[in-house]
Amino acid sequence: MSAPPSGEPLLTVEDLRVSFATEEGIVQAVEGVSLSLRPGEILAVVGESGSGKSVTAMTLMGLTRSPNARFEGTAHYKGTELVHASEDELRRVRGAEIAMIFQDPMTSLNPVMRIGAQIVEQIQEHEALPDQQAKERAVELLDKVGIPRARERIDNYPFEFSGGMRQRVMIALALSCNPSVLIADEPTTALDVTIQAQILQRMRELRDETGAAIILVTHDLGVVADIADRIAVMYSGRIVEQGTLDEIFYDPQHPYTWGLLGSIARVDRPRPERLPAIAGLPPSLANRPDGCHFRPRCPHEFSKCVEVPPLETRVQGEPGHRDRCWLGPDDKKERREVRPGEIGLEAKSEAGAA
């Protein structure tokens, strides 16, 4: 780990494995994820759909528990082990210590309950506060997340708010018990860009004011560049690379990261003839290739890739920067540059999809 900004990690996830039994067999959604989160830090977990990023986040909250799910590994938060904790233990942590913001503000609020009542309910679940005081706190929270005329709007129902405003209500709800960890699962994906910019700014300010650490689950590297301190890139159930914001953007080690960085349409650069795409599709979860999961889509694949590369530090002078790729650091430096000064991944072969 690089020099911690403020001491001890708040949350440590070690070798988390989550699998689900389905009709088609065992689906290994998360395959050995280790993470740590320090106070006040914004950690972005980046990946495409099916990479296991949301399952990882939801498992920390005990939201993936079901009869067909199996869990291994640990997640320690202030002396509580979350993965195997009892429902009672979890309930004490959930909402109060670790809170979650969901992707879709249209469906994650209760449609038949006034928003004030939803916030009050959450506060009173964790603290013995009289109604009036809890309501006062709710007004303050709504005001803090930028909802105009909070005192009047507290008695509105979710349908009376726009998407951006609903997401603010979600954030207020998540902040209601002063959590020290906030897990945000694609918090701005359903929103327009101008509203996204407002919400991200708000989240940054709240982190500065309350000192809460944030795990931001997203597929959008633009959002990540805007807000994250550290990044973990996930692919097909594994972390393939992790490091600080600058390490990932300026010295990416894993070919998948190169592909991700290369495939973003940038508005601040002249437009390329063709958009660089990563050829092929992510493997189906039930049927993954041996060794490196990215192997079938990777143009730099070689004989060693049939073995699983461990997640370890491979760059000198960047102790917190780890990746899962067998290529040597110098080799990588050479191969990731598709054009001078431009990182990307060329197509593996003509065969695209299917």
């Binding site: 495409e48 759909s49 726009s162 998407g163 951006g164 405003m165 327009d192 860009v193 101008t194 509203i195 996204q196 910019a197 407002q198 991200l200 700014q201 597929h219 959008d220 590297l221 633009g222 959002v223 990540v224 560049a225 805007d226 914001l245 600058d246 953007f249 592909g259 991700l260 960085l261 495939s263 973003i264 349409a265 940038r266 508005v267 601040d268 002249p270 437009r271 390329p272 063709r274 958009l275 660089p276 795409a277 990563i278 050829a279 599709l281 695209g352 999809a353 299917a354």
Partner: protein, 358 residues
């Protein structure tokens, strides 16, 4: 690709208005208000051209694209397709035109019938328009191949495909009748980034191969850039700016366009930190009661008295770049002097041109 002001207009939209009535009352419905979804838009789409139509949710872009497809009726204005007035065309008149205009929808999970096999989904338009039964399968296989799917998959169901593959099926269905115009309503916003790029490249290739005309609707300026020849920016039912595509990114004239561009986070931490950004406050106003004057004035950092009173005309600058703003950005005094009011301006706008002093 054409430059956007030729006479080969495939679609010609003149002063198009689409209002949705809000009704209230018992026994007798009374119209109490109207949602001004599209409010006087004039736009031409030339043959072989790609026009990007961009705006935030609720700006009227989807209503406009559906009106062009004649899925929604226009309230006022005129709409013609290849020179033929179709504003009030009935089913009979539309039928032969339907095969020339097709649509690809946003959500590849909701826009394919889950109980039908791929061959039925793509074959349906073919059968409806008279392709003999025994020819359908061969044609579907060819279409699958063209959109990058394995022809053997024609008997599969939609759930057996990933999101990107489903969107390819949607594209194949739209291509089946060899249309002239394809309206793409947010075709990639439901897909992962790396897959988005694949679909955009596919659309690009198909356009070259079949000489297609696209209307590409999106909420995100970064996506439309790669396919568009011209981009129209919409806000609250009105056109704010229409520009040759590259110029919009290097030289946005309307403050709203600038705000949209600066709201897109750049995937480069350093440039992100150093970049000049305006974060517009607030949200788009209610289209039931749009603000007077310039519709963007309540959120605009440059707004002055004139913006609150007079609706700005669409002003034509160099290179056919149009913008409806009293206080344009990124244009020199000389360019402002040359500027003229464009005939495509809304009927309700004022005649005041921006002054160089602003």
């Amino acid at each position: 690709m054409s430059d956007g002001n030729g006479d080969g207009a495939l679609v010609d939209i003149e002063h198009l208005k689409v209002f949705f009535p809000i009704k209230e009352g018992f026994l007798v419905d009374r119209e109490v208000a109207r949602v001004h979804a599209v409010n006087d838009v004039t736009l031409q789409i030339d043959e072989g051209e790609t026009v990007g139509l961009v705006g935030e949710s609720g700006c009227g872009k989807t209503t406009m694209s559906r009106t062009i497809m004649r899925l929604i009726d226009a309230t006022e204005g005129r709409l013609s397709f290849r020179g033929e007035d179709i504003t009030h065309a009935g089913r009979k008149q539309l039928e032969p035109l339907r095969r020339q205009m097709q649509m690809v929808f946003q959500d590849p999970f909701a826009s394919l019938n889950p109980r039908k096999r791929v061959v039925q989904i793509i074959g349906q338009p073919l059968r409806l328009h008279g392709t003999p039964r025994d020819k359908v399968e061969g044609r579907v296989k060819k279409l699958l191949d063209e959109v990058g799917l394995a022809p053997e998959h024609l008997n599969r169901y939609p759930h057996e495909f990933s999101g990107g593959q489903r969107q390819r099926i949607g594209v194949a269905r739209a291509l089946a009748l060899e249309p002239k115009l394809i309206v793409l309503d947010e075709p990639v916003s439901a897909l992962d980034v790396s897959v988005q790029a694949q679909i955009i490249n596919l659309l690009d290739d198909l356009q070259d191969e079949f000489k297609l005309t696209y209307l590409f609707v999106a909420h995100d300026l970064s996506v439309v850039r790669h396919v568009s020849d011209r981009i129209a920016v919409m806000y609250l039912g009105k056109l704010m700016e229409v520009s040759p595509s590259e110029e919009l990114y290097t030289k946005p004239i309307h403050p709203y366009t600038f705000a949209l561009l600066s709201a897109i986070p750049i995937p480069d931490p350093e440039e992100n930190r150093s970049r000049e950004r305006i974060v517009v406050s607030g949200e788009p106003p209610n289209p039931i009661d749009p603000p007077p004057g310039c519709v963007f004035h309540p959120r605009c950092p440059r707004a002055t008295d004139i913006c609150r009173e007079v609706e700005p005309p669409l002003v034509r600058y160099r290179n056919g770049h149009l913008a409806a703003c009293h206080h344009p950005m990124n244009v020199s005094a000389e360019e402002i002097k040359e500027a003229v009011k464009d005939p495509t301006s809304p009927l309700s706008c004022g005649d005041e041109l921006p002054s160089a002093a602003a």
